[in-house]
């Protein structure tokens, strides 16, 4: 059961990472990046490193995601 979960997690990580780089719309890329960060936090927890998982979820997905969304808003307003 846990092997299935791990394989799914690894596949989701690779997929979201690849989509994040290849998707053509900036807002979707940012959302995919946040999703990637949360999946990464799960992966760290599965690897028995909850410390890194906590930091990844809070800084990698949370703060960086918020900063990226903020920057996206500015870029969009400048263009308009």
């Amino acid at each position: 059961m846990s092997l299935v979960f791990d394989l799914l997690l690894a596949a989701a990580l690779l997929w979201s990472g690849g989509r994040c780089l290849s998707v053509d719309r900036l807002d979707r890329a940012i959302v995919l990046f946040i999703a990637f960060g949360l999946l990464m936090a799960l992966a760290w927890a599965r690897l028995a490193a909850p410390d890194i998982g906590l930091a990844e979820a809070a800084i990698g997905a949370g703060l960086t995601g918020a900063l990226l969304l903020d920057a996206y808003g500015v870029v969009k307003r400048r263009k308009a």
């Binding site: 410390d51 906590l54 930091a55 809070a58 949370g62 703060l63 918020a66 903020d70 500015v74 307003r77």
Partner: protein, 222 residues
């Protein structure tokens, strides 16, 4: 064809990197090290019960000292680039959202203090606690309850630098011991908690500052 070659090259490089990462972990290969044994052997002298905290704040305290210095430097550079002095109006947000944020923010402060305290014996610590504090500030800002920050006043400046200064002061006070950041085992736990408390406040403010100083948008007239 070109894509295939590039993909193959990337795959080979990734495999090489993974191999390089795994190589020092093999304790039986020549040049391999297993640091877990060394950490476990010195846990009693570290002053805390959680190996990650022991490594971050005691055995490799120098790295953490430089880490907070780098973050502080990043914020100073943002301030040095210059932020627009004109004040921006708080954004109008949904009242339901504001009520939620008002409820969540105090809880997040409690979680941050818990994470700081728990760092001594289980996963947690100053970095995570600081990140939760910063997230609370960002949440309040996004719901329009906290305006973005102006040029930092004296109090904010002290808050931003407190973690680094406390860490530096402890390091300076311990220099007569003979080595940088070598805590006496009897006081190690208290010193680590003191440093971590300072780090939590400063990291929270610095990470929040990265967002709140930057998020002012002079073009926000519409």
């Amino acid at each position: 064809m070109k894509r295939f070659v590039v993909g193959l090259g990337a795959l080979a490089f990734a495999a090489l990197l993974i191999g390089a990462l795994l190589e020092p972990l093999m304790a039986n290969t020549p040049g391999g090290v297993d640091l877990r044994v060394a950490v476990a052997a010195h846990m009693t002298a570290s002053g805390v019960d959680h190996p990650v905290t022991a490594v971050l704040l005691n055995f490799r305290g120098y790295d953490t000292l430089l880490e907070i210095a780098v973050l502080l430097l990043a914020l100073i550079v943002i301030l040095a680039i210059g932020i627009d002095p004109e004040c921006d109006r708080p954004r109008a947000a949904n009242p339901v959202l504001q009520a939620m944020a008002r409820l969540a923010a105090p809880l997040m402060v409690v979680v941050a203090v818990y994470l700081l305290w728990a760092g001594a014996f289980r996963p947690g610590g100053a970095f995570q606690a600081g990140a939760v504090l910063a997230a609370a500030a960002v949440l309040l800002h996004l719901t329009g309850l906290l305006p973005s920050w102006q040029l930092p006043g004296l109090k904010l400046r002290w808050g931003l630098t407190a973690g680094f200064l406390i860490f530096l002061a402890v390091a300076a006070a311990l220099i007569p011991q003979g080595a940088l950041l070598q805590y006496p085992p009897a006081q190690a736990g208290k010193l680590i908690l003191l440093i971590e408390a300072g780090l939590t406040v400063s990291l929270g403010l610095i990470l929040a500052g990265l967002f709140l100083f930057l998020s002012r948008d002079p073009g926000d007239d519409a």
